[in-house]
């Protein structure tokens, strides 16, 4: 579905690379999670897929077509994008924000309206209380959910998601993650998702790709990544969630003994 071939991006004519020689393939219906430190090039890689960033070298295929030969406007309307900074339009209501792409695609107003309500339900917002609010009348988590609804609105087959659940409380996050995973599986969505949350990565991903300083360190299923990390950096990265899980487990066990 998405093939990234030797993609590199430099903002300073080759003195440094935000992304360097990345080869990565995402299959149809696959949910790939991009992991890595802040500034390692995850957002840049994501933006190259829908041409918000043009690669300095290499090429990218989406549905077997070289994106550099595709009209970027049409390309982007067919790919849902959840922005790292959410990026809701402050002058539009929630409903208008969600309906942006359907309107660009000239959907009937009634179809837009129904779709908005459907997506607000899906993302755990109440159409009645929230649809006519402006973004500045929402909480950070609510805004993030509207951003997700907006990306899903025109039923894209590919979703690019840059830390989509970052501002949510753990319970809402868990619910929405599961809701999204179910949706992704029923609709057979192809997803590239960036996150800093290891647990999220392990729970949601079909496959995890780890980046460091613009370079792809390796990919693997959550199980492979946990069990046999292909690189010491990946092992180190996985050390934290593993240790935390162990601690939680032992606390649960000792708490049980105390009773």
């Amino acid at each position: 579905m998405i093939q990234i071939q030797q993609a590199s991006k430099t903002y300073d004519r080759g003195r440094s690379f935000a992304v360097q020689g990345v080869d990565l393939e995402v299959g149809a219906g696959e949910l790939l999670v991009l992991l890595g430190d802040s500034g390692c090039g995850k957002t840049t890689l994501l933006k190259m897929i829908n041409r918000l960033v043009e690669p300095s070298r290499g090429r990218i295929l989406v549905e077997d077509r070289d994106v550099s030969r595709v009209n970027p406007v049409a390309l982007r309307r067919g790919i849902g994008y959840v922005f790292q900074g959410v990026g809701l339009f402050p002058h539009m209501t929630v409903a208008e924000n969600v309906a942006v792409v359907p309107r660009l695609l000239n959907w009937e107003p009634a179809a837009c309206r129904d779709r908005v309500d459907e997506l607000l339900h899906l993302t755990g917002l109440s159409p009645r209380t929230h649809r006519d609010r402006k973004p500045d009348e929402l909480s950070g988590g609510q805004r993030q959910r509207v951003g997700l609804a907006r990306a899903l609105a025109a039923r894209p087959r590919i979703m690019l998601m840059d830390e989509p659940f970052g501002a949510l409380d753990p319970i809402t996050r868990d619910g929405l993650q599961r809701e999204f995973k179910r949706l992704q599986q029923t609709l057979n969505l192809t997803v590239v998702m960036v996150t800093h949350d290891m647990t999220e990565a392990l729970l949601l991903a079909d496959r995890i790709a780890v980046m460091k300083q613009g370079v792809l360190m390796g990919t693997g299923t959550p199980r492979q990544i946990l069990r046999n990390p292909s690189h010491p950096y990946i092992a180190a990265l996985m050390e934290t969630p593993r240790r935390q899980a162990d601690q939680v487990e032992s606390m649960l066990r000792s708490g049980g003994e105390g009773q």
């Binding site: 918000l52 982007r76 309307r77 067919g78 900074g85 002058h91 942006v100 792409v101 660009l104 907006r150």
Partner: protein, 513 residues
Amino acid sequence: MTESALADQLRLLPDYLGHHLTLTLVALSSGIAVCLPLAILVTRVKSLQWPVLTVASVAQTIPGLALLALMVPLLGRIGFLPAFIALLLYSMLPILRNTVTGILGVAPDILEAAEGLGMTSRQRLFRVELPLAAPVIIAGIRTATVWVVGSATLSTPVGATSLGNYIFSGLQTQNSTAVLVGCGAAAVLAIVLDQLIRLGELAVAGRSRTKGWLAGAGLLVILFSTLILQIPTAKGSAAVVVGAKPFTEQYVLAEAISQRLTQAGLRVENRSSMGSMILFDALTAGHVDCYVDYSGTIWANVMKRKDLPPRADLLEQMKAWLQREHQVRVLGTLGFENNYGLAVPRRKAEALKLASIRDLTGHAPQMTIGADFEFFVRPEWAALREAYRLDFRERRTFDPSLMYAAAREGVVDVISAYTTDGRIIEYDLSVLADPLQALPPYDAVLVLSPAAARRAELVRALEVFDGIIDDGTMRAANKRVDVDGESPAQSARFLLKAVGLSSPPDATEGADS
């Protein structure tokens, strides 16, 4: 008296307000039509930003009055067009700057979201950038509105009727009612337009139907009343345009001429308070049909002559020259001279034994001279200084209406007085003799544009003025305005009666006499 004085002024309001509104609305809407696309272009082509905004800023730093006056020679026209262009230029900076600031101020992550969702750059402009910049753009338009309504009062001296007619003539004739009415009307107009725009903005932002209807209705009322107010001046094209320079005598004479023309059944339009050279150029171009000028002014300023032949010779040569060079017809001399003369308070003249300008030479280095705006750049001043070797300690320029009081109160020692001004007697000034004849004679002459000279009924109505007003009568008429507080129209009636001419039945004064 004050009530009817106010009523007198308010009768002029529909005409002045109608012109003022037309000028303002046309200038503003053109300003918006030009500036919005230009500003958008500037945000797309960064290299244009500096030059466009700089030009607009420079236009803004030119004082309003100067900008308007500059348009006259640039366009070779008086009236609506130069006023419109100047006001358009004036409206540009706030609209341009705010639109550019507003668009460039849209947060980059929002622009990226618009792009990332698949908006074309056009859709981004209309669906994201302009709506988000709208409050800033509208603030710019509101600033421009207030500026343009205010600056439009300055279009009177370039021959466009506006609420400034109240202010300019009111200042010259010391009619504070007229000044107040003019300023008040302009202020109210500015506030009303500003608030209407604000209401429209609130209606759009808050999606309020009621506010939208209110703003729309307000705008319609304004547009409609502009049209209605314009109707009287819009019909018929052969109105006689009577010009006047900005001082009392000119207003009174223009009124007297207008009253005679009205009585002869002609339709009259007045262009008051125009600068001396602007007025002459307007006459030769046919934008003004007639006005009163002075032989010495034309001799020195238009013909640029430095020699001084005897009075009768000068008149003959001037008539022939005007006819030959400009096809301007001198219909006749009115009979009086309004000379430039140096005047000093009589008590000071007696104390210093000043009888002629020659006696002034020795005292000049300790004295301050006051004059109107034109005097020090006119050739007469150069001739005077040369002939009498005058070297004053300080020169000050005044509005003519304030100059005489400045002499009386000792703010200045000497002034360049007009010899027919009623305030010379009233303020006890004495005019010094000019034994060397450095100053030309200033016979008042009635001049007609080439087109006006061909209109027999117009010539017939004005021929009667030849030689009938003497110095004393003119001075008395001026004094009625400057000292007694009459309106120029009232004084013109007195003048016509004094020289045995009839004036049309009175509509304006019926109320108070």
